[in-house]
Symmetry: C2
Subunit: 345 residues, 2 copies
C-alpha cells in the first residue's frame, strides 16, 4: 500500500462495500440501481467495489469461463460510468484469500437451519429451481457475504430491499463473535436501500435482466438502443393515437421518470397521454434520444478502455493488492481476538 492510498486506518470516511457477480455485462438497471450512486458516493465515502467472482461460482460452477470473461466486462462498465479508481478501490474477490478464510470461520458461527431460513436464500433457491440439490456453496453464500462486508469493515452496504436479510445475517455473525470475545472486534453494517426503485425491463417485467432478454447493456450500440426502445412495453389498450392511454406500468413513462431531466415536460406529456392524442412513437423517440445521449459517452469510454485491457487489469491488480492487505489484517484481528493459533512473532 503506498503512502497516499486512502486506507481504513487513516481515512475518516465511512466504509462502503458494494459489488457485482460478474456473470454478464452491466445494464441500465444496474446504472439506476447502483452504479449512479457509487459515482455519487465515492467522494464522501471510502468505497470498495468487489468483483464477486467467487460468489458467482456458487451458481455458475458449470461455467467458470463465463465468470472469468465478465470480470473484465464489468470492470469496463465500472470505469465507463465514472467509478474512479483514484477514489474507489475496485477488487477481485477470488484473489482475496482472507475472505475465503473468514468465510470458513463464519460458517462455524451459523447453523444450517439458520441459513435455510434466510428469506433471500429461500427465494433464490426457488427462482433457480435448485430444490434439495442446491449446491452447498449456494446455501453458504451468506457467510461469504459476511466475510466480504466484515473483511473490509464496511458499515454501509447498498442493497435492494430484498437483500436486507443478508445484512442481518452478517450482523448476527458479528454479534456472536463480538459477544464471544467480549469486545467489538468487528463493526455491524447497515443496509443502504436505494431511493430509486428498480428499473423495469423494456418488456415491462419488474426486473431488467440479461437472461430475460429485456435489458439495455451499458455498452449497447445505437442500433441496440433503438431496437430496445422500439420494443418497449406501453399501454396495450392504447391502439389509436387519439385513445386515452395509461401512464402507470407504461415503461416509456417509467424511463422518462428515470432519465428525462425535464420533469415539467414529462408531467405535461403524461397528462396529454392520459387525455388521448399523444402517440407512443413520439414518446419512444424522446426516450430514445435521451438514452442515446446518455449512453454514447459511456459506450465510447467503454470502447476506448476495452482497447487496453492491460490498463484495466492494472487497476484491478492495484485495488486487489490494497484490499488483500486490508482483509488479511481483518482476518488476523479476528483470529487474534478469538484466540486462534498463530506463529509466535
Amino acid at each position: 500500500m503506498t503512502a497516499n492510498t486512502p486506507t481504513a486506518k487513516t481515512d475518516p470516511r465511512p466504509v462502503i462495500l458494494t459489488g457485482d457477480r460478474p456473470t454478464g455485462p452491466l445494464h441500465l438497471g444496474h446504472f439506476v440501481g447502483s452504479l449512479k450512486s457509487r459515482v455519487a458516493l465515492q467522494d464522501s465515502h471510502k468505497q470498495y467495489v468487489l468483483l464477486a467472482d467467487t460468489q458467482a461460482m456458487t451458481d455458475n460452477a458449470h461455467d467458470p469461463d463465463k465468470v472469468r470473461r465478465n470480470v473484465l466486462e464489468v470492470a469496463l462498465d465500472y470505469l465507463a460510468v465514472g467509478i474512479d479508481p483514484a477514489k474507489t478501490t475496485i477488487t477481485v474477490q477470488s484473489h482475496l484469500p482472507a475472505l475465503a478464510e473468514l468465510t470458513l470461520m463464519y460458517l462455524n458461527f451459523v447453523t444450517v437451519a439458520r441459513l435455510e431460513r434466510n428469506p433471500t436464500i429461500k427465494e433464490e433457491i426457488q427462482a433457480r429451481g435448485f430444490g434439495r440439490d442446491i449446491p452447498a456453496g449456494f446455501l453458504c453464500y451468506p457467510a461469504s457475504q459476511a466475510a466480504d462486508i466484515t473483511g473490509f469493515k464496511a458499515v454501509l452496504v447498498p442493497v435492494g430491499e430484498d437483500q436486507a436479510p443478508l445484512i442481518e445475517q452478517t450482523n448476527e455473525i458479528v454479534r456472536r463473535i463480538n459477544h464471544q470475545v467480549g469486545r467489538d472486534v468487528l463493526p455491524e453494517a447497515a443496509a443502504l436501500i436505494p431511493k430509486h426503485g428498480r428499473l423495469p425491463g423494456v418488456d415491462g417485467k419488474a426486473k431488467m435482466s440479461k437472461s430475460l432478454g429485456n435489458a439495455i447493456p451499458l455498452g449497447a450500440s445505437p442500433e441496440q438502443i433503438k431496437e430496445a426502445v422500439h420494443r418497449m412495453y406501453t399501454d396495450p389498450n392504447h391502439l389509436k393515437v387519439s385513445d386515452p392511454g395509461q401512464v402507470e406500468g407504461n415503461v416509456v413513462f417509467t424511463y422518462l421518470d428515470a432519465f428525462d431531466p425535464n420533469v415539467e415536460e414529462v408531467t405535461e406529456l403524461k397528462d396529454h397521454y392520459r387525455r388521448g392524442g399523444l402517440g407512443d412513437m413520439v414518446l419512444k423517440r424522446r426516450v430514445e434520444g435521451i438514452l442515446q445521449e446518455m449512453l454514447r459517452p459511456i459506450r465510447e469510454r467503454r470502447e476506448e478502455l476495452a482497447k487496453d485491457p492491460g490498463y484495466v487489469f492494472e487497476i484491478l491488480r492495484k485495488g486487489t493488492a490494497e484490499a488483500r492487505e486490508l482483509t488479511q489484517q481483518t482476518l488476523e484481528e479476528v483470529r487474534d481476538a478469538l484466540g486462534m493459533f498463530s506463529f509466535p512473532r
Copy 2:
C-alpha cells in the same frame, strides 16, 4: 522451498496426507491407530501431517483457545513418537489459505443433500447431539477434507473404516472437476485402512478418548500409567484367582496383544487365564511394565521438546511454508483448469 526439500514434483514416492484435529494431547489409541504407522511410512512415502485446527473449529468455535493450545501439544506428541520433520512435513491447516479457497470452490461441486447423506457426518451429528442446529461449517467439513487431500495431491489417506465415506466424497468432487475440465487435474485418493483395530479405552469402551476419561496420554506420568492400568477393565466374573477367566473383551489381554512383543508368552497367559489360577494383578503388572517402558522414552523426549517450544514452532513454520507453496500451486492448477479468473502474467 530449498533445493534439497523433497517436493511432490521431484519426489517419486506416493503422497500420504494424514493429521489430527488438535483438540487434546494424543494418547495410546492414536499411537496404535495412526502414529506408529506414520513413523513406519515416512521413509517410503512423502508424508504430510496436518494439524487440522481449521477443521477443529467446526465443532469448537466456542473454545478456539483449546484448539490453539493443542497445536503445540499435538506437535510435541508427533515429534516425541518419532515422526521426523526431516522426512515428514508437519503443517498447520489454518495457515494454508489455499485450502480455504479450495474448500469454498468444492462446496459448489457438492449438494447440500449429498453432504447430509454422508454416513460419517450423520453419525457425528448424532454423537454430538447437533440436530438441526448443526453449525454450517460442520456440515461442510467433507469439502474441507477434500481440499486437504487434493491440495496435497495425496493418493493415500490413512483413515478408520468409519471414515472411508469421506474419501469417497472427496473422489466424487475430484471426478466432477476432472470430468468438467476434460482431464485429470486432480488425482483420486484411496483410503489406507489400518490393519490393527482400534485400541479400546481402559474401561473397555470401544473408543479411547480424552473426553471419556479412559485414555492414557502419550505424555502420561508413571503414576498416571499405573493408575490407568489399575482401572483396566478385565473379566467382571473373574472374582477369585482360581476362577476361570474370559480373555475376549478383557482389556488387559487386548493391550498385551497390542504391545507385548512376546506373543508366545501371551498365548500361554491366555490359556492359563481361561483355565483359572491366574490373577488380574499379575497381568496388570505385566501390562504396566510394558507401557512404562514404552512410554518412558516418549515422555522424556516430549518433556525435553516442551522446554523449547521455539524449536517446535520453527519445525511447524518450515513445514507450513513448504505446504503453503504446494497447496497454492494446486489451487492455481485447479483454477486454471476450470478457467477461472487470474491476472495476466
